[in-house]
Symmetry: C2
Subunit: 316 residues, 2 copies
């Protein structure tokens, strides 16, 4: 499989791991890169000292390409551009902020820059800022979201119809079938978040993985649509069900005990960001297996579609 995403990222498979705060660190990201996809190291935890150690670890764990995400709302260090450029990565995603802020400086350092966008207006702004590509993120995905969420089935072909830049699809992607659908809609790569949180190499507590495996497709909540602060999609728990009915005054303050949930396994201690695809994930698997199954299924689906519908399309 070769296309602009495999070329730009230097990967075997155009499958990217999403940059979940605290989770997207060396253990998980190196597994993704070693399996032929692109691991990404997060900065949305805001802990650049820790991130620096993770970056060092990456260099010992993999010799394959990997990337860094600059989560602009969470990393306000003006040296972030130098920090990223010094790590020897060639690919960076920017998100949660104005694409003009770092794009030019990152590109001046020779980096390939993709900006994460949740709407056509955001995509147009990123394109004008000079990005090399877009991560187009549908509202069914987990994490911090645009308050006016738009599903991948609508957003992806809309953005693709307005630009020739390469697109990585995020939101709802978890296997080869969804990867094939995303490609039909105009993407050349996919990003997986919830699927990677549930992977064997993910550092989160077993309780969280078990809850993803046990979740139904209706077991997420969309919180804080009216602000203040970011909207988000999370796993339905007692706490988040309550927040759905009675929004907290400061949603970000509710992440205070994130580590007790993420790594301590207390699912009511904080908010577990999670996409609707949790309802499609039914076991914890090693990253390499996830990627291989995804690519195999992608090829099977494309071959089946070709057999069923392409021959019939030829002139009679």
């Amino acid at each position: 499989m070769k296309n602009r995403i495999t070329d730009l990222l230097g990967v075997t498979y155009p499958i990217v791991q999403a940059p979940m705060g605290w989770i997207a660190r060396a253990q998980l990201a190196s597994a993704v890169s070693n399996a032929g996809g692109l691991g990404i190291i997060e900065t949305s935890s805001g802990r650049l000292d820790e991130v620096r150690e993770e970056v060092k670890a990456m260099k010992t764990l993999t010799d394959k390409p990997w990337g860094i995400n600059v989560a602009q709302a969470f990393v306000r260090d003006p040296d972030i551009v130098s920090f990223v450029a010094d790590q020897g990565v060639r690919f960076v995603t920017t998100s949660a902020g104005d694409p003009n802020r770092y794009c030019e400086a990152l590109k001046a350092k020779g980096l390939t820059v993709f900006h994460v966008v949740p709407s056509l207006a955001a995509a147009e702004k990123a394109i004008a800022a000079g990005v090399d590509g877009l991560v187009v993120e549908g509202g069914e995905g987990g994490g911090f979201k645009n308050s006016r969420d738009v599903a991948s089935m609508v957003l992806l072909p809309l953005v693709a119809s307005k630009t020739d830049l390469p697109i990585i699809a995020a939101g709802g992607i978890t296997d080869g079938r969804t990867m094939a659908a995303a490609f039909c809609l105009g993407a050349e790569g996919v990003q997986m978040g919830t699927r990677m949180v549930s992977a064997a190499e993910s550092p989160v507590h077993r309780n969280w993985k078990d809850r993803i495996v046990g979740a139904k497709e209706t077991d997420t909540v969309f919180l804080n649509r009216q602000g203040p602060g970011p909207a988000l999609r999370a796993l339905r728990t007692e706490k988040t069900s309550r927040f759905e009915l009675e929004p907290p005054a400061n949603i970000m303050a509710e992440f205070g005990n994130a580590l007790a949930l993420y790594f301590g396994g207390d699912m009511e201690a904080s908010i577990a960001l999670c996409g609707q695809v949790a309802g499609r994930i039914d076991s914890v698997k090693p990253v390499a297996e996830i990627l291989q199954e995804t690519v195999r299924e992608f090829e099977t689906v494309m071959a089946e579609m070709s057999r069923r519908y392409v021959r019939a399309a030829e002139p009679a």
Copy 2:
């Protein structure tokens, strides 16, 4: 193009028009059937006397197959089964209610019955009730919705993975690209609602069509998630923006002036049900053109995918 949906429905193209209340009547439905798709006559207006006249009109306007939708929450007439069976249609969709209620009786009359489902649990219930197929409806679509909405990118492959019954995809479908994506996700047919509301033959007021054409992908609101009464997705207007912040006590009462909006063009008189795909519709077109463009684009996308990704999948 031939598959189980074209066979079961007796149509040239596996494209179905959604049964919008008041709108899915003879003028629009006959145009869809005459263009090679399947027009459907609504019953959700609850006006069976009027529907009877529309059915008579259908027989003069088309000799192609068409169907009827039984919107169970709105049609409580116990004679509805005989009514539908007497019209000479062979295809019926049931929705907004328990699939067990009419399935057996409709099938006993020789009808092919598809039930509309917004979740896996609903799909499993419909399958157990003995339906012939499913309309799987993603939360990005317009109209009355499950309060826990799930996007097509997640719901469609989830349901498809649990059943061999034929599936018609609804929610987010508006062209050949989205049809191709839906087929990759497991569907063999698609249903279009908002696209058909905006069609030249749709009977709604020009103001409504213009608002669909002018809408951004972020210009819908999801209302009444906490009930009482049904949740719904509608076009963002002054009224519905207000409802988003301050839910009305009785959402159904707000449809009291539906006709003033639907046919009088007063966009603040009622609630204009509408899917996110409004953001992808940029002109009012005749139904035949919509269907032909959809099929042509579907074939183009499938051929492109085959050329780019199937050859590479063969053993080296």
